[in-house]
């Protein structure tokens, strides 16, 4: 891409006392893209956004927007606008006056302001609410006003701080689609902050996963899901089964064999060229398994083993299985590709075959202490209430 560095953070840090809210962050964002900052609460997303908006001064680093160093500009001189998490609408102004605020400050002609406001009201479908005051609007309507109020300024970057967090699930899904449409329509660069991986995955061109003030990985949603570079990313994005193992030997150029205590040996894709003897994490996503009553056809890249079904949860679109293999309980998800009723479904307490392709699992080096912690703290939706999935017992 020609303009990958439309917006750049260069080695930006922000400390609050002893807390490193943002720690040496470097990011490049292309013009017009939908870029998400994804991470758990408290990881520094809002702080990074506020540095860009001009409400916080970074301790180190520069922020470059459209070729211009804006690090020291006050908020009102930056061509970025924010959708605040609490919307922060002006309670003493009507919807129309709220949206017009930014242009009134610029002292634009009244006629010009009126046409722009009308255009924005149409964009967010709020024409018939224009005369109302914010306190009688619903959450979704406030959201739209906040969007219109920011977009009317034609910012170079639109900042959105967890804009959907305050809405209920149904509205959230609807606003998600609307945000996507609005982004396509206005073509402005969006910097979107969220702790919800679903939102980030479905909207973004690129995602930066943050943890403890640090960027763990930047990539497309698929890259981050399929090839996480740290165990934090693997665990935070989607569900996964984690194993602690050791590389025993290298098979061919790109594969290696792992031993795992209390689990059969497995073959795994090794693009990171981790050499024999190194401790690693193995991660296998639940949907990568194949589960069947009959033995699957043998192939040298497939891991095949026997297991006992301990639990089955039918969810219509898909079925979740908990399968015991030696000391591990695996979380497995199967999608139904055809009508199941003419087949006898796999049930509780059945012996089954499970298999997965070596390319569908990935290894992560074990080096830091935070990595070690992750195995005992799997993400919420893996495993049963005790979070014991795929950990040895």
């Amino acid at each position: 891409m020609a303009s990958t560095n439309y917006l750049e953070f260069e080695n930006v840090s922000k400390h609050f006392g002893s807390i490193r809210a943002v720690d040496r962050v470097s990011l490049s964002i292309a013009k017009g893209e939908f870029f998400s900052l994804l991470g758990p609460s408290g990881c520094g997303k809002t702080t990074l956004l506020r540095i860009l908006a001009g409400f916080e001064n970074p301790n180190t680093g520069r922020v470059i927007l459209n070729g211009r160093d804006i690090t020291d500009l006050p908020p009102h001189q930056r061509r970025v606008n924010t959708i605040f998490q609490s919307y922060a609408l002006f309670p003493h102004l009507t919807v129309r006056e709220n949206i017009a605020f930014g242009l009134r400050i610029e002292k634009r002609l009244k006629k010009e302001i009126d046409t722009e406001v009308d255009r924005m009201l149409a964009l967010v479908q709020m024409e018939d609410q224009a005369h109302k005051y914010p306190d009688i609007l619903s959450g979704g309507q406030k959201q739209r006003v906040a969007i219109a109020r920011a977009l009317i300024k034609k910012p170079e970057v639109l900042l959105l701080d967890e804009p959907l967090a305050a809405l209920d699930l149904k509205l959230r899904q609807r606003m998600l689609m609307e945000l996507d449409l609005i982004h396509d329509e206005v073509g402005i660069t969006f910097l979107y902050v969220t702790h919800d991986q679903g939102e980030a995955m479905s909207l973004s061109d690129h995602i930066a996963v943050m943890n403890l003030g640090i960027i763990e990985q930047i990539g497309t949603p698929a890259e981050i899901y399929e090839a996480p570079r740290s165990s934090f990313v693997a665990a935070f994005i989607g569900d996964t089964n984690f194993f602690e193992g050791k590389v025993t030997d290298i098979v061919g150029h790109e594969y290696s064999r792992l031993t795992i205590d209390g689990f059969p040996d497995v073959l795994c894709f090794n693009d990171k060229h981790i050499s024999a003897g190194n401790p690693v994490f193995l991660s296998i996503r639940p949907e990568k398994f194949h589960i069947s009553r009959d033995a699957p056809p043998n192939s040298n890249k497939r891991n095949i083993m026997r297991g006992l079904v301990e639990d089955v949860i039918y969810q219509g679109l898909l079925t979740k299985f908990w399968v015991r293999v030696q000391e591990y309980r695996l979380s497995i998800v199967q999608q139904h590709s055809r009508f199941l009723l003419d087949e006898k479904p796999i049930r509780w307490n059945e012996e089954v075959w499970i298999s997965w392709h070596a390319d569908d699992s990935f290894m992560l080096e074990r080096y830091s202490e935070s990595d070690e912690q992750l195995v005992s703290l799997p993400p919420e939706n893996i495993g049963d209430v005790n979070g014991e999935a795929a950990t040895p017992e």
Binding site: A53, P75, H76, N81, T82, A88, F90, P91, H92, I105
Partner: protein, 256 residues
């Protein structure tokens, strides 16, 4: 279950206790008889007489001058004080809070006396100016407390929103902060006005010759015995005060 009547009875008794004397005073201001114990028929004569009492009007004028100027000045200083108290949270502010809060609870007698000693000590002539200073001293506290209350539940993210939309700090303050705080500031000002216009104790200490205010005038009229006139005057004052309080409450309760 039948609810007890007691709370209702007590409430009515209290209301009668508080408001009956005022009601009698108001009715008596229309009483043609000089004596409140006998009813001489309706009249507006006392109000008419009041009209020709030059000294009362002079006192009223003094009171208004002081009340308007003292509340105006204390609105400015009190609002700024509230901002300082809200914005910073250091030891200095805790002391400042105490200093601003104290005049609300300190006995008026003490305050009047200490102000008098102070003015005498610095050699200031007692008069309208000393009354003005004394009133500003206690009005600031009331204004600061009312405005501080508004500030404490003010959502400052909307100031950031205004800056985000291109307003510098000054514009954001004028366009967003001030309109939203205005009801609180005005309410504080009206409160200051009503406190100033009927203050007796403190004024009594610091007033000098020729600077008699209305409450002091009324007091001396009672000594020389002119109850019907005072009834009429009090009724007028009552109406004015009620109006001010009503407006001030209306503004404070108005939804944000």
């Amino acid at each position: 279950m039948k609810r007890s009547r007691a709370p209702l009875v007590v409430t009515i008794a209290v209301l009668i206790f508080f408001y009956l004397p005022i009601l009698i005073l108001v009715i008596n201001s229309f009483n043609a008889s000089r004596f409140s114990s006998t009813w001489g028929g309706w009249t507006l004569a006392w109000y008419a007489r009041l009209w020709h009492e030059g000294e009362i009007w002079h006192a009223m004028q003094n009171s208004l001058i002081i009340a308007v100027s003292a509340s105006a000045v204390s609105v400015v200083i009190g609002t700024l004080a509230a901002f300082a108290l809200h914005r910073f949270d250091t030891r200095l502010q805790k002391t400042q809070y105490l200093l601003i809060y104290t005049p609300l609870v300190i006995p008026e007698l003490l305050m009047g006396l200490s102000l008098l000693l102070f003015f005498v000590a610095i050699g200031m002539n007692l008069g309208l100016l000393t009354i003005f200073f004394a009133h500003v001293t206690f009005c600031i506290s009331y204004v600061a407390m009312v405005v501080l209350g508004r500030l404490q539940d003010f959502d400052f993210s909307i100031i950031e929103a205004a800056q985000d939309l291109g307003a510098n700090w000054w514009t954001a303050a004028v366009r967003v902060l001030l309109p939203l705080l205005a009801p609180g500031i005005i309410a504080g000002g009206l409160l200051a006005f009503t406190l100033s216009i009927d203050d007796f104790v403190i004024t009594f200490f610091v007033a000098g010759p020729g600077s008699t205010t209305l409450p002091i005038r009324i007091y001396s009229m009672i000594k020389f015995g002119a109850p019907p006139l005072i009834n009429a005057l009090s009724t007028i004052l009552l109406v004015v005060t009620f109006l001010a309080v009503w407006i001030s409450q209306h503004l404070t309760e108005e939804k944000r």
